[in-house]
């Protein structure tokens, strides 16, 4: 999922950070980050801060940008998927629980998780009884089917994920808005034999379909109330809150939904009476207001800006109110097999041994920015294993081993190649420079080449012809998972069959063995065995020496003292918004 804050605000913040750090002598990012949920403060044994069941009060969120859309069919941010559950109920969702507990899928609108049949090509869900829309109309499986149908229409809802477009057996179906059948439910791939049952039919087996069922696209939408791209102005609620006022691009507020019945909902606490969200708020101002108690949550969940980070880490009292959330995101550098001499695996291994990972970590802000990565799969993903195929002393590189690999590669004196990064990203620039410095110790010379980030994948690093023609041996990159699972993280970046002429997300990992393992994972319905396959893929990528893993990302979240029931869920890698309450009345 995308998680970015506005470039301009970021740039301003960076400048302000420099100035403020100089003023206060603040020691930006020098102290180590704590582990997940380990920032201190009063946490109970499960890792929940200020546990409480007390209802009431107003919870105040702010967003440094605008929402991509509040429409469940048209949103693709982790924070939005976390937040949307306050007003909508998908078939399945991530359990509101601290840490690893939050990666468990639990039924929400459905009675239980999906029941696979036909070798994981057919998935059946039964809806809970008694669930109603905010106007009191009962929710039926047809409303869910309609919601999925409209999410297929990418010209009306361009922002949302395309998993249903890619996996359902659409038979040419594109949109309910041009559906000739009177009830607009003409999609054959989704069946609703009765009002409580919904059946999904896929083109190819997919063992992790429950992850698709947790997408906001399965939140029911009443066809009669659907206004297409204007539906986001008033989404009809099924969750504990409904829209009171919605001033697009500026602010919106949610109030209790009288037709939400807690008896049908075992997972939502619904503590606050009211939720207010301000949009397009200056990112540094958000941090200030969190500390001043004028605000409860920075909704994006990406952590505080560099300016506030320095201040918070230097102050023990403030630091006690922080959580260092490990994110399902890895910053890494791809080694292009198409660029000689990196076509030789020994030359790629030479790079892996020569890299000083501590420099890579410094580029991302030291320990606060993340943990040194030794493989692609981030540790927050269930089933992931920590291993290091190319261990070096203190992660600082092993020049002797690098030279040995260079000899085997037939390049004993090293070689020269290019390294690309996204020009607008100072951390990637620092990465390229750190790699240049550490690789030069083994005689590998890097020519640094920045490209505009907007077109990085369409015209430059994601375009194989360009990479080859411009001798870009190293491609600085990063990837975040749509959800914490091997498929959500690895499929888009390691499957060589997804590689096209331009606009790639897999920048050059090509191994038929990996493709075969992916296919195997897609049909393995047993979760532990499937998780094992994704680890095997992760190991294979490292054996093939296709990437230099850099950093497993972390974000420093600040938690104002009045927030209750606060914990970082590994499901979204930020605070769980379903659980939060406030003592401020």
């Amino acid at each position: 999922m995308r998680s970015r804050r506005k470039v301009v605000a970021g740039a301003l913040g960076a400048v302000a950070a420099l100035v403020l750090a100089a003023c206060g002598g603040g020691n930006v990012a020098s102290s180590g980050g704590s582990g997940s949920g380990g920032g201190g403060g009063a946490a109970d044994a499960n890792g929940v801060h200020n546990p409480s069941t007390e209802k009431g009060g107003t919870l105040r969120f702010a967003n440094s940008g605008d929402w991509d859309s509040l429409d469940p069919a048209d949103t693709y941010y982790a924070y939005s998927w976390d937040f949307v559950r306050l007003y909508g109920r998908a078939l399945v969702t991530f359990k509101p629980g601290p840490g690893k507990d939050g990666t468990t899928l639990v039924p929400d609108l459905a009675e239980s998780l999906g029941k696979p049949s036909d070798n994981a090509k057919t998935w059946t869900y039964t809806l809970r009884k008694g669930i109603k829309f905010e106007d009191g109309t009962p929710v039926t499986s047809k409303d869910v089917k309609y919601a999925v149908e409209r999410s297929l229409d990418k010209t009306t809802f361009p922002n949302g994920p395309t998993y249903f477009n890619d996996f359902l057996d659409l038979q040419g179906y594109t949109t309910p808005y041009e559906d000739p059948s009177p009830d607009k439910l003409g999609l054959k791939a989704v069946e609703t034999p009765d009002d409580q049952t919904i059946v999904f039919k896929l083109k190819s087996p997919f063992s992790g379909f429950d992850y698709f069922a947790q997408l906001p696209s399965t939140i029911p939408v009443p066809a009669a109330k659907d206004t297409g791209s204007k539906y986001k102005e008033h989404v009809v609620a099924t969750g504990p809150y409904m829209f009171e006022k919605n001033d697009l691009g500026k602010s919106f507020s949610l109030v209790r939904n009288p037709n939400w019945d807690p008896a049908t909902d075992p997972i939502r606490k619904a503590l606050p009476d009211r939720i207010e969200v301000q949009l397009n708020v200056n990112a540094d101002d958000i941090d200030n207001r969190l500390q001043a108690g004028d605000l409860d949550v920075g909704v994006e969940g990406t952590g505080v800006q560099p300016a506030a980070q320095g201040k918070i880490l230097a102050d023990q009292a403030l630091k006690a109110n922080t959580d260092s959330a490990t994110v399902a995101r890895t910053w890494f550098t791809v080694l292009s097999e198409s660029v000689p001499p990196l076509d030789n695996i020994h030359c790629r291994k030479a790079v892996l041994y020569a890299v000083d990972k501590t420099g890579y970590q410094r580029a991302y802000g030291g320990a606060t920015g993340g943990e040194i990565a030794t493989s692609l799969l981030p540790p927050v993903i269930p089933g992931s294993e920590k291993f290091d195929t190319y261990p070096t002393p203190n992660n600082a590189g092993d020049i002797d081993k690098a030279k040995d690999e260079l000899n085997q590669c037939g390049q004993p004196n090293g070689f020269t190649t290019g390294i690309s990064y996204r020009a607008e990203r100072p951390k990637e620039k620092a990465t390229a420079e750190a790699l240049q410095q550490s690789l030069s110790r083994a005689g590998i010379k890097l020519e640094i080449k920045p490209y505009p980030s907007g077109d990085y994948f369409k015209l430059y690093a994601g375009k194989p012809d360009f990479v080859k023609a411009n001798n870009l041996g190293l491609l600085v990159y990063g990837w975040g998972a749509d959800w914490p699972d091997g498929y959500g993280f690895l499929a888009q970046i390691t499957d060589s069959r997804t590689i096209r002429a331009a606009g790639n997300t897999n920048l050059g990992i090509k191994d038929p063995a990996i493709d075969g393992l992916i296919d195997k994972a897609l049909v393995t319905t047993d979760t532990p065995s499937r998780e094992k396959i994704w680890v095997d893929i992760d190991k294979k990528v490292m054996d093939d020496a296709f990437v230099v893993p850099g950093v497993w990302a972390k974000g420093l979240l600040y938690r104002p003292p009045n927030l209750t029931n606060v914990f970082v869920t590994d499901g979204y890698q930020m605070y769980d918004y379903l659980a939060l309450g406030t003592t401020r009345k």
């Binding site: 999922m1 995308r2 506005k6 470039v7 301009v8 605000a9 301003l12 400048v15 302000a16 100035v19 403020l20 702010a62 940008g65 605008d66 929402w67 991509d68 859309s69 409209r150 229409d153 990418k154 010209t155 009306t156 809802f157 361009p158 922002n159 949302g160 994920p161 395309t162 998993y163 477009n165 890619d166 949109t175 309910p176 808005y177 659907d226 206004t227 297409g228 791209s229 204007k230 986001k232 697009l248 691009g249 500026k250 397009n280 708020v281 200056n282 540094d284 101002d285 200030n288 207001r289 500390q291 001043a292 004028d294 907007g454 077109d455 369409k458 015209l459 888009q492 331009a502 606009g503």
Partner: protein
């Protein structure tokens, strides 16, 4: 006089046409020169995982597949006669003057802009009064007491004002006055004037002062230099020789002629500000046109960018027209015709 105004307005319309056409060219032609295809442009408006068909469908929906002059013609047509847009299940009519719908979130542009205009107007007007009164009085006093402690102190402060960027003074003032001392409104506060004028002024006090500080500094220096020049002129000596009170000499004779260049700059500054005080609005999270334009540019949202460009140009043109008309009032030597 009337002929002059009409001629200026006709020229302004042509200027607006050229400005919007240039925006179109920058948006569509420049990336094409860099090798981007129509679908590449469209892919900016599709979520992360868009496939080739979806991207092409968006390109068609947004009209990118048509030649650029057709698209520009469509933009102009919408301005004068309105246009129809599909929301999916229905088609909505966007009445003239229609600035279209955002490529990113499909919000209509004109209501959005009009919604934000009061914020920018309030910010610019309040700050303009502050800096004009503050800057000009300090400049006059400095010029009259040239070399005094006041002059030196004022000019040093002015130098600081010109040099310190808003995102520094703004964040610092928020940190001190709003969050530490708690005497001013926190960032993101705005109350419409018609709702509560007192709260309106309270919320905007800090942004006004910060913005005015930046401009007042320049105006003070400009006024001081102008006054020093004028006060040395022969007609001032004559005025004094006639036995006029010093107050009349300074205000009616000295300041009046020193004011002409200041007015010129003021027109430009105010026009630019009305088009969006980008840094101030971003720093204080004010939902004005400046903040809107930043978001539009960052997201490559052409309809929004065009809307902001259009509004900004209109304000600059109008402000300059007003200034030119005022010349005739201030300086009797100027004749319009």
């Amino acid at each position: 006089m009337l002929v002059y105004v009409v001629r200026r307005l006709v020229a302004a319309v042509f200027l607006l046409l050229i400005v919007t056409a240039a925006t179109f060219v920058i948006f569509f032609v420049v990336p094409r020169l860099g090798g981007a295809t129509v679908d590449d442009l469209a892919s900016r408006y599709v979520g992360k995982a868009g496939n080739a068909q979806d991207i092409h469908a968006i390109a068609v929906k947004l009209g990118f597949t048509d030649p650029i002059w057709v698209q520009y013609g469509r933009f102009l047509a919408a301005l004068f006669v309105g246009a129809d847009y599909s929301t999916g299940p229905t088609t909505v009519h966007c009445p003239a003057p229609c600035l279209g719908y955002s490529f990113i979130n499909q919000n209509p542009v004109l209501p959005d802009l009009l919604d934000r205009l009061p914020v920018t107007l309030s910010l610019a007007a309040g700050a303009a009064v502050l800096w004009l009164v503050g800057g000009v009085s300090i400049g006059v006093l400095s010029a009259l007491r040239r070399g005094s402690v006041f002059d030196r102190a004022a000019m040093s402060v002015a130098l600081a004002g010109v040099s310190l960027p808003i995102f520094f003074t703004g964040l610092l003032s928020l940190a001190i006055f709003s969050y530490w001392l708690g005497i001013t409104a926190p960032g993101g506060s705005f109350t419409p004037f018609e709702e509560n004028p007192l709260l309106w002024a309270y919320d905007l006090l800090l942004p006004w002062i910060t913005l005015a500080f930046l401009y007042a500094a320049g105006y003070a220096r400009l006024t001081r230099a102008g006054m020093l020049d004028t006060m040395g002129e022969d007609f001032i000596r004559t005025a004094r020789a006639k036995g006029l009170p010093e107050r009349t000499v300074v205000v009616k004779h000295g300041l009046r002629s020193a004011l002409t260049p200041i007015l010129t700059i003021f027109g430009l500054d105010l026009g630019l500000l009305l088009g969006g005080a980008i840094l101030t609005e971003s720093t204080y999270s004010l939902p004005g046109i400046g903040k809107y334009s930043v978001d539009a540019i960052v997201n490559n949202d052409l309809p929004k960018v065009l809307g902001v460009v259009l509004i900004g140009s209109i304000f600059i043109v109008l402000a300059n027209l007003v200034v030119d008309l005022l010349y005739a009032v201030i300086d009797p030597r100027v004749r319009l015709g």
